[in-house]
Amino acid sequence: MNEKELIGTEQIEPITEGETEYDFYFGPAHSGSGNFGVRLKIDGEKVIAARADPGYLHRGFEKLMEYRVPMQNAVLSDRVCILEALNWNLVHAEAVDELTGVEVPQRARYIRVLMAELSRLQSHLIWYGVMSLALGFDTGFKMAFGYRDYILDVFELITGGRVYPAGYICPGGVRKDLPEGYEAKIRRVLDQTEEMMQKMKHFDNVVFARRAKGVGVLNLEDALRLGTTGPVLRACGMKTDVRKDDPYEIYDGLDFDTPTEKEGDAYARCLVRGKEMEESIRIVKQVLDRMPEGKVREPAKIPPPSRVKIPEGEVYVRNELARGEGCIYMRSVGGREPYRVKIRGPDFLHMIPVLEHLLKGAQIADIPAIYWSLNICPADMDR
């Protein structure tokens, strides 16, 4: 499709009598879409063409990181995706660790996984909230955000930040050891999250099944062709998980399943995320049970930036984020700053080719359901 076929907002023409086709702009500044827009061509109630219009959150992280040392980049990596800042912290820290070849202490690895899984849980709760909102189910939205706050309390206790942990997971380990009483607090929050999941199951049939079943169907062949990853791909019947296939940190020693569904519609994607939350809770419990003692960073004292150099080399690190596959390609020529950083966010594919593909032929009323069933985050697409 050519951009000229779909005109911008400033050129929207009035609908003339007898014509059924018109242009429609979804987003870009709407609570239901995030900072992202889709230009739609609609005939009656049916979408006949869609073109994503990204760029509202482009901050140029890849370029900014070329001017900063890894400890500064760790803070910057929070901002790649607002909704799962700790997971992006982890991707960045792993890329630097692999280049420097530092032996990350075992306790730090456990803390990293603990935080990444809690972050996945709160990210899925946000998704549940906005998905409910998109389906016109305000109660679900308020409940999910309420329960998410309990997890944010844990983040505040451990990292000092509720949404942005300020590079808590940093090269070499984590910035600070866990505070006293963290375990009881986290276990209490897990109970609260399980309580929320019980409620979610109860609402599944009432709201989600009716609005999301059979909507936005993606078959496996298209999913692979369009570069889909994560829960969206698993909802098409593909059993794949970076944590299992390409294990990092301590994931190969943990016991968890990879839930899949076959239908590939918006409802299947909802089910996969629901089951994933259960698996995340299982992981967090195992991590809490096995948490070893010891150092949390190597070296324990952060050396002055002028002394730290990244050895020459290149790495490609893959992680399983709440939304799919998140990767960083990092190239160093032996300087203090990385020479080139490429950030690959899952939503770059989900929000442009996948969304355009799914919206074609959909009804106007189904747009929010399709849009949020992909659990998209404009921040990690634009970077």
């Binding site: 990204p54 140029g60 570069g227 490609y316 990767c327 690959r344 770059f348 080719p353």
Partner: protein
């Protein structure tokens, strides 16, 4: 090491016997190969047939002193569970390369569109290289190494009458 990287070595052997290039085994599940621009598409097709059906990302690294752009194609195989990176260098003054859309279709299309905007690389065969992130941008491709973003911001937005901005820029 030899036993755990058995499948990786098999992939490297297959590629090097067909294309006469050396593959580098970085660690478990990570293979890097470098090729020239002419045999890129043939190698990509061969890799896809080997099972590398997921194009994870395409990236460009700018080497102004050398006068080249280095393209890296990061491929994941769901069946073998290996990440293969194909690297190729192209001339910086005439940055054209064949598009990999025939191999990875829409997935490749959007990655190439992004790199065209940020690095100015021309992908032959990709018909939709419209601007993606930057609005009304008429400067040089901003992710190139010789683009000074600080100078650019100063030139475009520095309000000399504003005392606070003076403290920052001067």
């Amino acid at each position: 090491m030899a036993e755990t990287t058995h499948k990786e070595n098999k992939v490297i052997d297959k590629i090097s016997s067909k294309f006469k290039i050396e593959g580098k085994l970085q660690r478990e599940r990570r293979i890097w190969v470098a090729t020239d621009k002419e045999s890129l598409i043939a190698l990509c097709n061969f890799a896809k047939d080997l099972g590398f059906e997921h194009l994870s990302a395409i990236s460009v690294t700018d080497w102004p002193e050398e006068g080249t752009f280095e393209l890296t194609y990061h491929l994941w195989s769901y069946s073998e569970k290996i990440l293969l990176t194909i690297k190729t260098k192209i001339d910086r003054t005439n940055p054209t390369v064949d598009s990999v859309i025939p191999v990875w279709e829409e997935n490749a299309q959007i990655h190439e569109r992004e790199l065209h905007e940020l690095f100015g690389v021309e992908f032959k065969g990709n018909e939709d290289l419209a601007p993606l992130f930057l609005e009304d941008w008429d400067g040089p491709p901003p992710f190139r190494k010789d683009f000074d973003w600080r100078e650019s911001v100063r030139h475009r937005y520095y309000d000399k009458a504003n005392e606070r901005e003076r403290a920052y820029w001067d």
